[in-house]
């Protein structure tokens, strides 16, 4: 028991949510180390049904209709060891008019040979609100392959936001594949912010299908690469209903021998739908940098500040 408690604390600390979880008994959380649920605190209206698998856990996560969870709900997945596999199956149901903000902290601080995969099926009921913030913490040498996949359905009037961010350590290899279907009057926001270095490999495939009247979607990717890191971003946004509106935005800053590729795919199948896109790949903007240097910042300091802003 003591060991488990110590492991929970270690994982939460490494995930940077120790204080948030322990200082407030009104905060729900789940802690999974490898394939074992080692910590769980629920709340009325939230149903968390974990099941152990060989290499990870399956979780059915439900927020009951009409339940509004004001405080963040934390899911902590991770491994403190340096090697192994962890697979997460998520089956998420946010029922009608429910509201929840989920923070998934995926923590592998000592990674040298880890495979972390996730398959998620997400259903967001009518007029429900679901935000999913995925925050990763990796080892300084990378040594990790992360493969998250999700299929999301956003019902009428619902809101879905997902943000991916690497808080600490090196990417290693990441291959994100998210696909989202949006029904009438729904809103989709997908944001990814990643900084790659060394030989990191970043692949992002995000697709949004604005299939309902007045549905709206924004896909945003911001990446900063240096050394010999590489990134490929395929953002697809389709609009096939009247007054569907969308925007795809990809910005990548490339330094040293890093390589970046962005392929925005925009498809409009209705005369009253509208999608815009922008992509900017390349070195740091010269005017931005020289302005900061003319205030006394060194080139390195200026570049760092610009990248911090980009990844915000």
């Amino acid at each position: 028991m003591e060991n488990k408690s110590a492991l929970i604390d270690e994982l939460l600390e490494a995930s940077r949510i120790h204080k948030a979880v322990h200082s407030d008994p009104g905060v729900a959380y789940l802690v999974v180390h490898h394939n074992e649920v080692i910590g769980l605190r629920g709340l009325p209206g939230i149903l968390v049904e974990p099941r152990q698998t060989k290499d990870g856990v399956g979780i059915r996560f439900t927020v009951k209709a009409g339940v509004q969870i004001e405080k963040p709900v934390y899911l902590c997945f991770g491994m403190m060891s340096d090697r192994g596999k962890q697979h997460i199956d998520m089956d998420v149901h946010i029922e009608e008019k429910a509201r929840v903000n989920l923070y998934a902290h995926c923590t592998f601080p000592n990674s040298s040979n880890i495979l972390h995969t996730m398959d998620a099926a997400v259903h967001i009921g009518p007029h429900a609100h679901y935000s999913y913030y995925e925050r990763h913490i990796h080892g300084e040498n990378g040594g990790i392959e992360v493969v998250p996949k999700a299929k999301v359905t956003v019902e009428e009037g619902a809101y879905f936001k997902t943000e991916f961010e690497l808080l600490k350590g090196r990417v290693g290899s990441i291959d994100i594949d998210y696909d989202c279907l949006c029904k009438a009057n729904s809103i989709l926001e997908m944001i990814a912010r990643i900084s790659g270095r060394g030989a990191d490999i970043v692949k992002i495939r995000e697709s949004g299908h604005l299939a309902g009247d007045h549905s709206r979607g924004v896909l945003t990717t911001k990446i900063a690469l240096r050394d010999s890191a590489s990134a490929e971003v395929y953002n697809t946004l389709t609009a096939s209903a009247p007054y569907a509106r969308g925007h795809v935005d990809c910005k990548e800053i490339v330094q040293d021998g890093a390589r970046a590729k962005a392929v925005p795919v925009i498809e409009v199948n209705h005369p009253k739908a509208h999608i815009t896109h922008e992509a900017a790949l390349g070195s740091v903007d010269s005017k931005q940098l020289q302005t900061l240097m003319s205030r006394g910042l060194s080139e390195e300091q200026g570049v760092e500040l610009i990248i911090q802003g980009l990844l915000r």
């Binding site: 911001k222 903007d285 020289q290 900061l292 003319s294 205030r295 006394g296 910042l297 610009i306 802003g309």
Partner: protein
């Protein structure tokens, strides 16, 4: 006392000579205006003094506080006390006004930053957490750029067309800022073709075709500009014509 001298400074850009053996001296603590028609080389001169990328391959010398700074990079010149406000300030994705001003600030004092913004009629509570991007108007970005100059506390400040994109009320705040800099003893170089801005200077130069063609009292320069430059039929196309002076 002299703070900055350009001695026989020439600069060629895209095979065109923009600055032609420019000789100009700026005095410490004064507000100088460098005036002239469009294309005369005013902004190029400012970029050359600041040492911006693409403007460092000069002939001649730039002497700052008695030292030749030709080989100094932009940030080195800045740390020696020179800074510059762009005519069209840069926009930054995600960088907040607060972070930009803190990065620009010499003393990193939040109260000074707040007071500086307030002095430019910008409510700090409304602006500090906003991103310095396209959601701000040109006039707002201009005033934030000026705020960054003020908190930088440089000894010599280049203001490139400080009135462009500015409304009348904001222009008064810009003039207040110039007065503040002057009170501090900062040397201010105003790059302008606006008579209203020229009026704020202690001393003025008239630049045409990459050369100084007149200098002195601002009233004299204003008169010359109004009488001769405005009606002058030539265009500042480098290397294609000789300036018609005195006609």
């Amino acid at each position: 006392m002299e703070i900055l001298q350009l001695k026989d400074v020439s600069l060629t850009l895209n095979e065109s000579r923009i600055l032609r053996k420019l000789n100009i001296t700026f005095w410490q603590g004064y507000v100088h205006a460098v005036s002239g028609p469009n294309g005369a080389g005013k902004s190029t001169m400012a970029a050359t003094i600041m040492g911006l990328e693409g403007y460092r391959d000069i002939q001649g010398s730039i002497i700052y506080r008695g030292r030749n700074i030709n080989k100094l990079a932009v940030d080195e010149r800045a740390r020696h006390g020179i800074t510059m406000a762009w005519q069209d300030p840069a926009r930054y994705e995600g960088l907040s006004v607060r972070d930009f001003l803190m990065a620009s600030s010499k003393n990193k004092d939040p109260e000074v930053i707040n007071n500086t913004l307030a002095g430019l009629s910008m409510n700090p509570a409304q602006y500090l957490d906003r991103a310095l991007d396209k959601t701000l108007s040109g006039g707002e970005r201009k005033k934030i750029e000026l705020a960054s100059i003020i908190v930088n506390e440089a000894d010599l400040v280049l203001l490139d067309e400080p009135d462009s994109g500015i409304d009348v009320e904001s222009l008064e705040r810009i003039f207040d800022a110039i007065d503040l800099l002057k009170k501090r003893g900062t040397t201010v170089i105003l790059i302008t073709h606006s008579l209203a801005v020229l009026e704020r200077a202690d001393h003025a130069f008239l630049l045409c075709h990459g050369e100084i063609i007149d200098k002195g009292d601002k009233a004299k320069i204003m008169k010359y500009f109004q009488d001769k430059c405005i009606p002058c039929g030539h265009k500042n196309i480098p290397d294609e014509w000789e300036p018609v002076i005195g006609k």
